[in-house]
């Protein structure tokens, strides 16, 4: 394998794997920084006993909720008053009764960190919206919505980008094998002559392609490992109290194995594009043409 093939392959695979690493860790960072995300479920004034029971049951049985606090209409008014204390205390004093308070009762729900991603928050909020006796659900829809849209666009772009790089990898390997095949044409011709089957002739080239993919994958992962541990220290400093090893993760051994395998498969596939043209007379015909 020549150096340029190796460089292009490692870089391309590094970009794919790096994108995976980056997006995985940013969503984890988000779930840490987004700790304050709360879902507030506002109840209707005329909510029935059975509806309250249902909501309670859901709150208690849900696997994604850390804690929930009930805030009745009076407390809601008090909270509102507290937040406006400095502006107009006398304005609210008349409303501090169960009947008089214009504020709805609500549940404030705190989610477990692993359910703190925007996608999950809005999904959980929708579950509550769908229940009876609920006036409104609020969770900072606007920016979560923005984030979700952004992520959706990023995902589509990422997939397109990944496909482009994938095709690029195939052609890089295919070109390198084409050169190798040309330089070993006479050898292939001799193999044809003594009755080697197509597969017997192709196999060494497929192995060569797979080997290029595997070596490049390993190298790309090593480089990413270097970049990761460098950024790890940097982010550790930024996070302060939160230690980075709770937030950031590198590829697991299984993922590393799959990535190396992926490299090998790309390599073999790229090689196959090129050697599939080998048939029982290919090399001899090429040789005759070049005379």
């Amino acid at each position: 394998m020549n150096l340029s093939t190796f460089a292009v392959l490692s870089l391309s695979l590094g970009l794919i794997y790096g994108t995976v690493l980056f997006s995985h860790n940013t969503s984890r960072l988000f779930s840490v920084w987004g700790e304050e995300i709360q879902i507030t479920v506002y109840l209707t004034d005329n909510i029935s006993e059975s509806q309250i029971e249902q909501i309670k049951k859901k709150l208690e049985s849900s696997e994604y909720i850390v804690r929930h606090d009930f805030i009745d209409k009076v407390q809601a008014a008090k909270l509102f008053e507290k937040s406006l204390k400095n502006y107009g205390p006398q304005f609210l004093s008349s409303l501090k009764s169960e009947v008089g308070s214009p504020f709805p009762a609500s549940y404030q729900i705190q989610l477990k960190p692993e359910f703190n991603s925007p996608e999950k928050v809005s999904k959980i909020a929708d579950e509550f919206s769908a229940m009876g006796g609920i006036e409104d659900v609020s969770y900072g829809q606007e920016w979560v919505g923005n984030y979700t849209n952004l992520m959706r666009i990023a995902r589509v772009l990422g997939i397109l980008f990944g496909i482009a790089i994938f095709v690029g990898c195939l052609f890089t390997v295919s070109n390198s094998i084409r050169a190798s095949l040309a330089s070993r044409r006479e050898e292939v011709e001799i193999l044809e002559l003594i009755g080697a089957t197509n597969n017997e002739i192709r196999a060494p080239f497929l192995i060569e392609g797979a080997f290029q993919g595997i070596i490049s994958s390993v190298f790309a992962i090593l480089i990413l490992g270097g970049i990761y541990s460098y950024s790890f220290q940097f982010i550790d400093g930024v996070l302060g109290a939160q230690s980075a090893d709770k937030v950031l993760t590198f590829f697991s051994p299984l993922v590393i194995f799959l990535m190396v395998l992926f490299g090998g498969i790309i390599g073999a596939a790229g090689s196959y594009i090129c050697v599939s043209k080998i048939n029982t007379g290919w090399a001899a015909a090429e040789g005759a043409r070049s005379l």
Partner: protein, 235 residues
């Protein structure tokens, strides 16, 4: 063993490389195919070894109708035919031993047996001690012997040689031809194309003479002596 019936080969646009070729070669025969350069000898061998299809006509090799053969079976036919070329076609990066062992490796034969058979073949072609050498360290005559050893190592039944002495001087050519005679004596059908007639006159061999794609003369082995002089005059 080899049978061609009304075989035509026309290369586009209009090269009539072979025209109405009818040949039948029996098992164990030794046959020369001779004719000037461009007569169609290589074309004929390419058809027999499945590198090309005739434009029309039928070819049968070792009982197989080549028109009916599936692409994936072509290698199997080739394993039944040993082929020797003018330019030896040896792998430069493999030793003499490894070159000769190649067909046996493809056939999946055990290492110990390969060693025995290759050593025997080396002895047969007179290169007993050349096994560990690389082809570039051998003379042309020796390289051709290696190619012949490789062609017969898997006991192919048919040995085809296209101008096997084209790169060799007269003395070496004769040695190579003697080797072919020895191989033929062991039962292998031998079919040799050459435009060099010097050694055809030696021995009592069947000769097919081809010119411009036509078989122009057929000299059966029994009547060799009578027409020997005639052929020599022709060339």
């Amino acid at each position: 063993m080899i049978k061609l019936t009304h075989v035509y080969k026309i290369y586009q646009p209009s090269v009539h490389a072979l025209s109405d070729i009818n040949i039948e070669i029996q098992k164990g025969e030794f046959v020369y195919l001779t004719g000037p350069s461009g007569a169609g000898k290589t074309t004929l061998f390419r058809l027999i070894t499945c590198y090309d299809q005739p434009t029309s006509g039928a070819i049968e090799v070792a009982g197989v109708d080549l028109k009916k053969i599936k692409p994936q079976d072509i290698p199997l036919i080739r394993r039944k035919i040993g082929v020797v070329f003018q330019d030896f076609k040896l792998l430069k990066n493999r030793t003499v031993f490894e070159n000769i062992a190649l067909p046996l490796e493809l056939a999946g034969i055990r290492k110990a047996e390969i060693t025995d058979r290759v050593n025997l073949a080396l002895e047969q072609v007179g290169l007993k001690y050349k096994g560990p050498f690389y082809p570039m360290h051998l003379s042309g005559g020796e390289q051709q012997r290696v190619a012949i050893a490789r062609a017969i190592i898997s006991k192919p039944g048919i040995l085809i040689a296209d101008e096997p002495t084209g790169n060799l001087d007269a003395a070496l050519s004769e040695e190579i031809m003697d080797l072919f005679a020895k191989i033929n004596a062991q039962g292998t059908t031998v079919f040799i194309a050459t435009h060099n007639l010097a050694f055809i006159t030696k021995g009592n061999r069947r000769v097919l003479k081809i010119d411009k794609g036509h078989i122009v003369e057929h000299v059966p082995s029994a009547s060799r002596e009578e027409i020997k002089y005639e052929i020599e005059l022709d060339f």
